[in-house]
């Protein structure tokens, strides 16, 4: 059992500097819950003062029932070997989040993806608008209310004979008149 000394020290450093809540999840894992306007200050602080120089991951979780997006910034210190999660909630109807690609260049890729997939605006974000989706005219597809089944049914045509996802063997049988072998009987052990 580790004593989590380094983890607690990191948590104290952030929570006392920014007056925010957080917890040690387990060894190597610490999380803090920040206000959306202080995220970039926290990230700058941990990067420049505490050595959390690797932006390991950025993600967004759509909590549709709560009307919020949860932004999660995962940073890692190669010295402490601790992963820190900085979490912040934003309104999902008018989602605007601080742009951090001035802190880490690679954040630009994540932010361009989130702009397309969740419709989050990052003021000052540089980069061509279409990153993955081209000429997309629907709601951002990773939002929970986007119905993939409905979209597929409305957008793509069905192959003749598969309108109601019939058994393809029956359809071949009907069209060609050929006898479809009864596989269950043929390979039965009895």
């Amino acid at each position: 059992m580790t004593d989590l000394l380094k983890e607690n020290k990191l948590l104290d450093a952030i929570t006392t500097s920014f007056k925010i809540e957080g917890k040690v999840i387990r060894d190597h894992r610490v999380e803090v819950n920040a206000d959306k306007n202080t995220v970039s200050s926290i990230l700058l602080f941990v990067k420049n003062q505490l050595g959390y120089i690797h932006l390991a991951h950025m993600t967004c979780v759509d909590w549709i029932d709560q009307g919020e997006y949860e932004m999660i910034y995962t940073v890692y210190s190669p010295v402490d070997k601790i992963t820190l999660f900085v979490k912040a909630r934003i309104d999902r109807e008018k989602p605007i989040m601080e742009n951090i690609d001035t802190i880490w260049d690679q954040a630009n890729t994540y932010e361009r993806e989130m702009r397309e997939m969740f419709g989050i605006e990052f003021p000052g974000l540089i980069g061509e608008h279409d990153f993955i989706l081209e000429d997309w005219d629907q709601i951002p597809p990773m939002r929970k209310e986007f119905d993939t089944h409905k979209y597929a049914a409305e957008t793509f045509f069905t192959r003749p004979g598969r309108e109601d996802a019939k058994d393809v063997r029956e359809e071949i049988n009907k069209r060609s008149g050929a006898k479809v072998p009864d596989f269950a009987k043929k390979y039965s052990r009895e």
């Binding site: 390991a56 999660i72 995962t74 190669p78 880490w104 993939t148």
Partner: protein
């Protein structure tokens, strides 16, 4: 001095030098790249969205396809994240089996890298050899899992079935064979002047910027930084196994090639130790009914060292029988966009594919 006109060159989306469909838009002056930008979108299959519609186990059929050359690290990372959420113990034997599978996966992926790297330098004998030898590793996977490329073998709670009879002996024989072949590979690739001249001083990733740019894996170790998830945050039984983390100075294609060359030998060393030390016993902490299995609400972040570097899965559960959100970050996400765009200016057009291969860019992993 003659001023040459700047022209635009599109490398891809179909190009033999790119492992998957991706386009690199190059601005060139003569033979020299002035600027580069990555364009993806040819392989988007909405896997992360589709996973939200499937239960925890069905997700495996999708997530092993995030990156074709490396299905196993994806399975393991997801399984570890789900195990953390579910607080599910993994039997000791399964941990050893997982390590063996991961190192075999590293070796087969190395063989593909070897083919791509030498092929993009115009050396066509090495791809024939390495893709041929890779089949011996795929044979082992077929014996173990029934599938050659996609296995869906690692599950939350362990692995799906135990090792078949005689499999470890066959694996050890294959390791002996591949170890001998590696000496021959050295002669035809690493001792080859063409490869040395093409690789040295090309595609340099600066050491002081590497971590900030999100560089991971052999590319990071090629700059002299000793970083590997297997030692930084040991998972499974990597902390019980004795192996080295090779590093090189320089940060160029040559340094990355030397790192990989040594890593595959370390993989053989790990597999031999894991087979020798593997205990008997259970291999699967069974989920009672996988189709109705619910995972407690929460979030977990798991990371694993793949052949191209750190792979991370961020998994969110709302307590239901389906993942609420799964987000994967592979090495290609930074290597294929930010890092590539930064190191290509100033390089020769002929070296672009060569550099792409050495960075381990896997386009399907960028857009998923």
């Amino acid at each position: 001095m003659v001023r040459e006109k700047e022209t635009t060159l599109y490398l891809g989306p179909q190009h033999p030098g790119i492992t998957g469909n991706m386009m690199v838009k190059l601005k060139v002056q003569g033979d020299t790249v002035v600027s580069a930008s990555t364009h993806v979108g040819y392989l988007h299959r909405a896997f992360e969205k589709l996973i939200e519609r499937r239960n925890w186990i069905q997700a495996f059929t999708l997530l092993c396809r995030f990156c074709v050359p490396e299905p196993d690290p994806m399975e393991l990372t997801y399984a570890r994240a789900v195990e953390e959420l579910d607080n599910r113990e993994v039997p000791e034997r399964a941990k050893y089996i997982r390590v063996i599978v991961m190192e075999l996966a590293r070796m087969q992926s190395f063989m593909l890298w070897y083919a791509g790297q030498s092929g993009s330098a115009g050396l066509y004998l090495t791809p024939q050899w390495s893709v041929g030898d890779r089949n011996y590793i795929l044979d082992l996977f077929e014996d173990l899992t029934g599938g050659r490329i996609y296995h869906m073998y690692i599950w939350p709670g362990g692995v799906r079935r135990d090792l078949p009879k005689g499999w470890t002996d066959k694996t050890l024989r294959t390791m002996d064979y591949i170890e001998k072949r590696l000496d021959e590979y050295n002669k035809i690739l690493f001792d080859n002047t063409i490869f040395q001249k093409r690789a040295q001083g090309v595609g340099i990733v600066p050491k002081d910027k590497a971590i900030e740019w999100g560089v991971v894996g052999p590319v990071l170790r090629g700059t002299g930084i000793r970083s590997d998830v297997r030692i930084d945050e040991p998972y499974e039984v990597y902390d019980k196994i004795d192996f080295d983390i090779p590093t090189q100075e320089g940060g160029d294609v040559w340094a990355r090639a030397l790192v990989r060359k040594e890593e595959v030998r370390q993989s053989i060393r790990i597999i031999r130790q894991a087979i020798a030390d593997m205990p008997e016993g259970e291999y699967y902490n069974k989920v009672s009914n996988p189709m109705k299995w619910t995972v407690p609400a929460g979030q977990a972040w798991a990371r694993t060292e793949s052949v191209r570097g750190e792979i991370g899965f961020h998994v969110t559960s709302d307590g239901g029988n389906k993942p609420y959100r799964v987000h994967v970050k592979g090495a290609a996400y930074t290597h294929g966009v930010t890092v590539l765009e930064k190191i290509l200016p100033g390089q020769n057009i002929a070296d672009v594919s060569f550099i792409l291969n050495s960075l381990g860019v896997c386009p399907p992993e960028i857009e998923r």
